[in-house]
Symmetry: C2
């Protein structure tokens, strides 16, 4: 099917930083043209979508999620990290099963797709159920099976993580990764086994790094080096690594991350809510590190809005480092889109509006009060907009959200089933 999206402001998020009026042509699952209408080649569109003067942008890449945790939204807030984990989250997670994870995933994916997220990178358990939900929803996804061999919390074994690679074969937009939970829950020996296995299957590694000050400092006490230092010493970073949080990384850590091409998955809202702090993302960008923005799970956020995350990512750097020039709007957009794609190894696939990439595209309605006056639509997108501006979400050329509803499933059924699962787990 050929689709033309016309009459919009293009925010391309590519190297050219284009921000001008134009159109996008979609040929099957692929973008075939991005640019001014006047320069567009002849195109036999089966469907034309009028952006009505709104924004046409790449879909958001949400680089760190625990999507089934949508079931736990709001049930335990305002608690200290270990209290929250030990007395709320872990006991609830113990009751999880395939059904709960599937419906929690369907719920979180619907929320993301409605909010313009076209690609996600997950870490959790019962990952076959997550992969099935992603395949049915149509969202582009990397699913990492969480591995834990010390301490508390859920997490499967390496064998289970590897089995997922077979399970997702044949799924159009779903891939697998291996996800050792963190330095404090995975032994050095297990990290080495994971490293070798990841090399064998050509997987990326998805891991939590220096999320809290306590975790960072206890690692130094235990191993004489930081989590990044330890992962480097164990040659884990020789495998393409996606490092979530990185709130407490040192300057030396950052140099290692830049050298090893570690992608950062920063979760500003979650880091604030749990009391972890603010990651030095502007500094990391300055060192040439690929920094992306993510929502984390709805247990600690409590929504999966990349619009809100992008805004906060920019505001926090300016405010906490007392420099309003840090993380300008154009850069903030990239942390939520193309830098995310790069961090996930999908830089050639998604994250920007470029011919040849997959048609992962969102359209935003800019007719509302918060976009008036139209002094600068890019700035409005980053600093004034909200999820509810997203009027259409397309993934791989398929329209999965429009007219306020997801198109691929019954939203009411998803909400009902997810609520039933939650009742079963929490009551």
């Amino acid at each position: 099917m050929n689709i033309a999206i016309t009459n919009g402001l293009l925010i391309t998020a590519d190297d050219k930083d284009t921000c001008k009026n134009g159109c996008v042509h979609v040929n099957g699952d692929t973008i075939s043209y991005v640019g001014a209408e006047a320069d567009a080649p002849a195109f036999d569109a089966d469907r034309t979508i009028d952006a009505n003067g709104g924004i046409i942008a790449p879909g958001f890449v949400n680089t760190h999620t625990h999507v089934p945790m949508n079931l736990f939204r709001g049930f335990a807030d305002d608690m200290k990290l270990m209290d929250w984990l030990e007395n709320a989250i872990w006991p609830a997670e113990e009751k999880l099963d395939e059904d709960a994870v599937y419906w929690g995933s369907m719920l979180g994916m619907a929320e993301m797709i409605a909010g313009g997220v076209t690609c996600m990178n997950d870490m959790y358990m019962f990952t076959e159920a997550i992969a099935r939900a992603a395949d049915e929803s149509g969202i582009r996804a990397i699913i990492g099976t969480g591995i834990v061999d010390i301490g508390g919390g859920g997490g499967g074994k390496l064998e289970k993580a590897l089995a997922l690679f077979d399970y997702v074969k044949g799924m159009k937009r779903v891939d697998a990764a291996i996800a050792p939970h963190a330095e404090y829950t995975v032994s050095p020996g297990m990290f080495e086994r994971i490293r070798d296995a990841a090399k064998d299957v050509g997987s990326r590694i998805h891991v939590h790094v220096s999320e809290s000050q306590g975790e960072h400092e206890e690692c130094i006490k235990r191993h004489g080096t930081t989590p990044i230092g330890l992962l480097n010493k164990l040659c884990v970073l020789d495998v393409p690594t996606m490092a979530a949080h990185c709130v407490w990384v040192s300057d030396e850590d950052m140099d290692i991350m830049a050298e090893k091409g570690v992608g950062v998955l920063s979760c500003p809202r979650s880091n604030l809510k749990i009391g972890s702090g603010v990651a030095p993302t502007a500094k990391m960008l300055g060192k040439g590190i690929t920094v992306s923005v993510a929502t984390d799970g709805a247990g600690s956020n409590n929504n999966l809005s990349m619009m809100e995350e992008m805004t906060l990512a920019a505001f926090l750097q300016k405010g906490v480092y007392n420099d309003p020039e840090l993380m300008p709007a154009q850069t903030a957009v990239k942390t939520a889109t193309v830098f995310g794609a790069k961090a996930l190894g999908l830089g050639d696939v998604t994250g920007s509006l470029e011919a040849g990439k997959q048609a992962d595209i969102i359209v935003l309605d800019t007719s509302g009060l918060r976009y008036c006056p139209k002094n600068n639509l890019l700035n409005h997108f980053v600093y004034s907009g909200s999820d509810s501006d997203v009027s259409l979400t397309m993934i791989g050329g398929q329209v999965l959200y429009e007219n306020g509803r997801i198109t691929y499933a019954d939203e009411e059924e998803i909400k009902r089933k997810a609520s039933e699962q939650t009742d079963r787990l929490l009551k």
Copy 2:
């Protein structure tokens, strides 16, 4: 007119912290009952509004705005404070006139009313035009004429500020205040004149305090004391004072503020975006200071969403002070509602759902994905919700927003006129 709002979760924001299902009865402009449907007295409603299981809450009190600055939204972002003021905002403000201020105000008020704001406290110039817009919009408002007698920036004279008190007489929900801009733009002598004038007319004083580190420290150099110390020395704080920002106030400042009953108008998003920092609001609350949350102007935010401000106000305290127990959801709601009313001297008038108060009420639709599953609607309201959940806004018993539209004016005309004024000012 008698209106019953039924079938909702009541978030009362009063001392009882009620959070249970029930209804509200509105008799003319006043709340006559809040509580369980079963306990409700007989009520002859002219209209019944079904909240449909959603939230019924007090409207937001936005305690620090420069509402005409909606015209400048997005036109100058990512700039250092003095660069932004001297090269963008002040030159644009020089061209302002009654018409521009009126339409900018109508735009900002429409955005606020649509986002559930029922009361605002403004500081700007051409304040008769702002008061006229508030009166026509129906929003509850205190309008302060900004006074500046040193340094740059706009601001009228004391005589003009006093004339506004006559102008607003007869306006149902609009009151005036005197608004000396800040320590660095108002001389000590002028502060003393303002103090005496405020006592004469029974006005509150609305002033910027310790917004940036530079301002705070230069005051100490100039006067040997902090801005709060100076205002106290000048006996300005003997007049009820509404102090915006208070990012850099010292412990000693806080003790003075607590003793003098200074209300804090904290603007977390603006403080971040301009690079000022994070106000110690949890600490101030702990010292018994009335802390409220506000949006500031759309030149530095860039929207007037109290939902987003409330969320960030809570998240920031947890994150920056590394304690997730700080500013729990129930407290965050109060900073956006009843504490705001108290800071403005309207504690008996608005800010909570209590019989006898004005019917300033919002209804939120909680049927969306971000409120599912319904583990805790209060937490969802604070940590997951967004402006677009507001389905109805009532001020003084009048429904001013419902079905996605303002009811008191033509939204399209406001957007068109405000855009025309912006074009005239900025092009």
